[in-house]
């Protein structure tokens, strides 16, 4: 009986240590991604939702969709960052024309843009890598 109790304690301790280890091991990247997505979602609701809609579907022929968009999920993060900074007008996107203009959003900080883009790249059916503050900073500097 004692042996079993001891075993449970050891096992529990082992699991605890192990799980802590794994958290400790993955935490920086994982939790920074999660936190960025969470901040990005809050910003999305204020900055983007009106046009791109709650489901990221945009509005057919008016505002481009973000959900499922190859541009949004793609590897060219600089292109995305540039669109947020400069806005977009009259450009064909993935074979479709969209009537409404997207205003420039230079007033957003590098952190805010990184968070919004990280969110839209990981919301709905999208899954793609994080956009970092450094990446936004680089693109912004080139535009000046």
């Amino acid at each position: 009986m004692k042996a079993i109790k001891f075993g449970v304690v050891v096992l529990t301790a082992f699991l605890l240590i192990n799980s802590q280890n794994s958290v400790a091991g993955e935490q920086p990247a994982q939790s920074s991604l999660k936190a960025s997505i969470a901040r990005g979602k809050e910003l999305y609701l204020v900055q983007c939702l009106a046009c791109h809609q709650v489901d990221g579907g945009g509005v057919p022929h008016l505002n481009a969709p973000l959900d499922g968009s190859a541009n949004v999920k793609g590897i060219d993060k600089a292109k995305l960052i540039k669109i947020v900074l400069n806005g977009l007008k009259g450009e064909e996107i993935e074979g479709e024309n969209y009537s409404n203009v997207m205003a420039p959003h230079k007033e957003l900080t590098d952190q805010q843009i990184a968070d919004i883009l990280t969110y839209v790249r990981n919301a709905w059916s999208n899954k793609a890598s994080q956009v970092t503050v450094a990446e936004v900073k680089t693109v912004r500097a080139k535009l000046k």
Binding site: L49, A50, G57, S99
Partner: protein, 434 residues
């Protein structure tokens, strides 16, 4: 399940009674067609039924029905294979299109028939095709270009058309802007004064139907201060043009200190105007508040959300509707098939909103506006609903169908186009089920 089956059977039986009744009482060979068992997915007032005339036609915008019952539909976007205009013919009288043909190599929205001609617009030009005595286009390849060089911006680019009885055609030229801000749709950006867009857009222009290649120089700016009109119709009873304006967007996004999200979802009204030559509806300087029933100074032009406009230049709407519903089709009903209350009243196809987010979207239906003594009574009602296929539309992309154009058939049926899936609906009334 059995209940549903017997209901469906019963409604079939009722409609077939009316088909027989129509056969025996109508002398003009117009036979009421049988609605689809599910009324094409639409919710309609008692006694009405609906069927799908055709489906999957593309971005079908406005449509018109010839005296012979053929349906001509204008298709928007980049068209290929001469699919700018689609013609539907019901060859066996079942209401469905057995014959589908097409012509015209340009996308667009406007289409109309008047005095032996079919008129159709691209986003920059208006063409007309002579019809033979069967209502068929004589030369589909070489229409007359009657209007050219109209301004086409990045938004509100469609050119809707309506014709009067005196040889004039009216063309909407939408403002290529939301509210004439220095920086369009940018937070806090102020309005340009005076708004330079109004010289060549943001209004209705009048041209002659029979003069080729007219430009702005030959046109008359008939009405101004209209941000964008898609639905418009000539009311022959009143001999007057009526238009539906799409109200401005994004009050909260652009001026968050003055408007919260709810105010932005509920303002400004979508508005109907009874147009006279020279009417000024006030865009971009004002908007119409549907709750206060007042013209309010736009925030880009010194408004604070409450300040009323006292400028006598700006007209009041004939009737106001909830915000952002996007009125894309207007039709004054002159037929005899529907009950008497519908005669000379207006049907409006509301395309459905996107600008109410984060609140649920609205519209995606056809409403009826009763008219008395040439004016709307104010008591409008939803006539046909269920286009979106969902109880609540949260994202616009999810709507299965969006009503866009309206037309009346020679037998008084109401036709509705959908520009998501390209479905053409025909709504009929059956006296037996009243």
């Amino acid at each position: 399940m059995r209940k549903i089956v017997s209901l469906v059977l019963a409604s079939f039986a009722l409609f077939s009674i009316s088909v027989n009744a129509a056969d025996s009482t109508h002398t003009n060979k117009l036979v009421l067609v049988k609605p689809d068992a599910d009324n094409a997915g639409l919710k309609l007032p008692a006694g009405f039924g609906a069927l799908k005339v055709a489906d999957n036609l593309g971005r079908t915008r406005h449509l018109v029905v010839s005296a012979q019952g053929d349906v001509y539909i204008k298709v928007q976007g980049r068209v290929t294979g001469d699919k700018g205009i689609i013609k539907l013919r019901d060859t066996n009288g079942d209401g469905k299109a057995e014959s589908i043909s097409n012509f015209g190599n340009y996308g667009g929205t406007g289409i109309a028939i008047k005095n032996g001609y079919l008129y159709a617009s691209s986003d920059e030009e208006v063409f007309r095709y002579k019809l033979d005595d069967k209502g068929d286009v004589i030369d589909t390849k070489q229409p007359e270009k009657i209007i050219t060089g109209l301004k086409k911006g990045n938004q509100h680019e469609t050119k809707s058309i309506a014709l009067d009885n005196e040889g004039n055609i009216y063309v909407n030229i939408g403002a290529y802007s939301n509210s004439c801000q220095i920086e369009d749709r940018s937070k806090g950006s102020l309005g340009r004064m005076p708004c330079p867009i109004l010289d060549s857009a943001g209004g209705i222009w009048q041209f002659k139907v029979n003069v080729p290649n007219q430009t702005y120089a030959q046109g008359v700016r008939y009405a101004t201060g209209l941000r964008n009109v898609v639905g418009l119709d000539w009311n022959s009873q009143l001999n007057q043009l009526f238009v539906m304006q799409h109200g401005r967007d994004q009050l909260h996004d652009l001026f968050p200190d003055l408007y919260d999200e709810k105010a932005s979802a509920e303002k400004p009204a979508e508005t109907m105007y009874a147009i006279k030559k020279g009417t000024n509806a006030g865009w971009p300087y004002i908007y119409y508040d549907p709750e206060m029933n007042k013209k309010i100074v736009a925030p880009e032009y010194g408004g604070d959300g409450k300040k009323e406009s006292t400028d006598p230049a700006f007209s009041n709407p004939a009737i106001a509707f909830p915000a952002h519903l996007a009125p894309n089709g207007l039709l004054f009903y002159t037929g005899n098939q529907f009950p008497a209350k519908y005669k000379n009243g207006a049907f409006i196809a509301f395309h459905g909103s996107w600008n109410r987010a984060p609140l649920p979207q609205a519209g995606y239906f056809v409403v009826f506006v009763p008219f008395e003594n040439g004016k709307p009574t104010g008591k409008w009602e939803v006539f046909a609903d269920g286009f979106s296929g969902m109880e609540v539309v949260t994202g616009t992309r999810g709507a299965a169908h969006r009503p866009c154009g309206l037309a009346q058939g020679p037998d008084g049926s109401l036709y509705v186009s959908d520009d998501v899936k390209g479905t053409i609906y025909r709504i009929v009334y059956n006296k037996e089920t009243k």
